[in-house]
């Protein structure tokens, strides 16, 4: 679970950094980088975090 937490944290941080960078420009490229790159990193980071919660819950039940 800790490894997944770390990985999800890194993914979300990368997403946040891309979001911050995209706000320095106002053009279609910065918009697309926000939607595609930042969005993918966010989604994967948050989903991994939620999955780590669910899987740790499941393993606690199993034990």
């Amino acid at each position: 679970m800790l490894r997944k937490l770390r990985l999800s944290g890194i993914l979300v941080i990368l997403g946040l950094i891309v979001e911050a960078l995209s706000l320095f420009w106002n053009n279609a490229f910065s918009f697309m980088s926000f939607v595609v790159i930042s969005g993918s990193l966010f989604a994967s980071g948050i989903l991994l975090f939620l999955y780590s919660l669910v899987s740790s819950q499941t393993s606690a039940f199993d034990n």
Binding site: E19, V35, I46
Partner: protein, 205 residues
């Protein structure tokens, strides 16, 4: 007063700091408080930061500068500076009849229910086609220009309402039976294929 961009940067900074705490010391999640911090750091704050960032990007996408950032739109941007008042977009832009910083969005948004959402969806489609597809050449409107967009501002304006030409056909104009744009009265728009043969207006710096 904190602007939206500052708010996004503050949220991003706070989010990164919180996440770093969890990434550097993931063992804190063993406690109940640590779990709450992890949930805030990895879910609540990033989601809020992304939401505010998305809202800021959507707001910026209404700006003229944004529309003209695509190469294909460059001649349409130039057409706003044509020194000929029969060019409807140029006359509106140069005389500030529309907000200069939101010129494209003001005239190319449906002033109907969900018009803003519709415009944003079309904008997303334009960006998608520009980057991943083949934009139509020359660019065309999806549908004929609706009088509703003109009347959104002109309806009720004295110069419009008192014009004998408009008065004679007011019902048909409001019902879009006669088009403002294609019935021969106001039919000069961007005309980008003629830009090499026109004079341009230079704004005073």
């Amino acid at each position: 007063m904190i602007g939206p961009q500052t708010l996004v940067f503050l949220l991003i900074g706070a989010s990164i700091l919180l996440i770093l705490v969890v990434v550097i010391r993931p063992s804190i999640t063993a406690s109940r408080e640590g779990k709450i911090i992890a949930f805030l750091a990895l879910f609540i704050v990033p989601v809020v930061a992304a939401g505010v960032g998305a809202s800021e990007h959507m707001e910026r996408s209404e700006q003229t500068q944004f529309c003209l950032s695509c190469h294909i739109m460059e001649p349409y941007g130039r057409s706003l500076y044509v020194d000929d008042k029969s060019y409807i977009p140029a006359a509106h832009f140069q005389n500030h009849r529309i907000p200069v910083d939101k010129a494209c969005y003001t005239c190319h948004t449906d002033y109907a229910m969900f018009g803003t959402i519709h415009a944003k969806m079309e904008g997303l489609h334009h960006v998608y086609v520009y980057w991943f597809g083949t934009p139509m050449n020359p660019i065309r409107l999806y549908q004929p220009y609706n009088n509703r967009e003109c009347l959104h501002c002109h309806s009720g304006a004295r110069s419009f309402e008192e014009s004998p030409t408009h008065t004679a056909m007011m019902g048909d104009l409001k019902a879009s039976k006669i088009s403002c744009a294609t019935s021969g009265c106001h039919d000069t728009f961007h005309n980008v294929d003629q830009l090499d043969h026109v004079k341009f207006w230079k704004p005073i710096e």
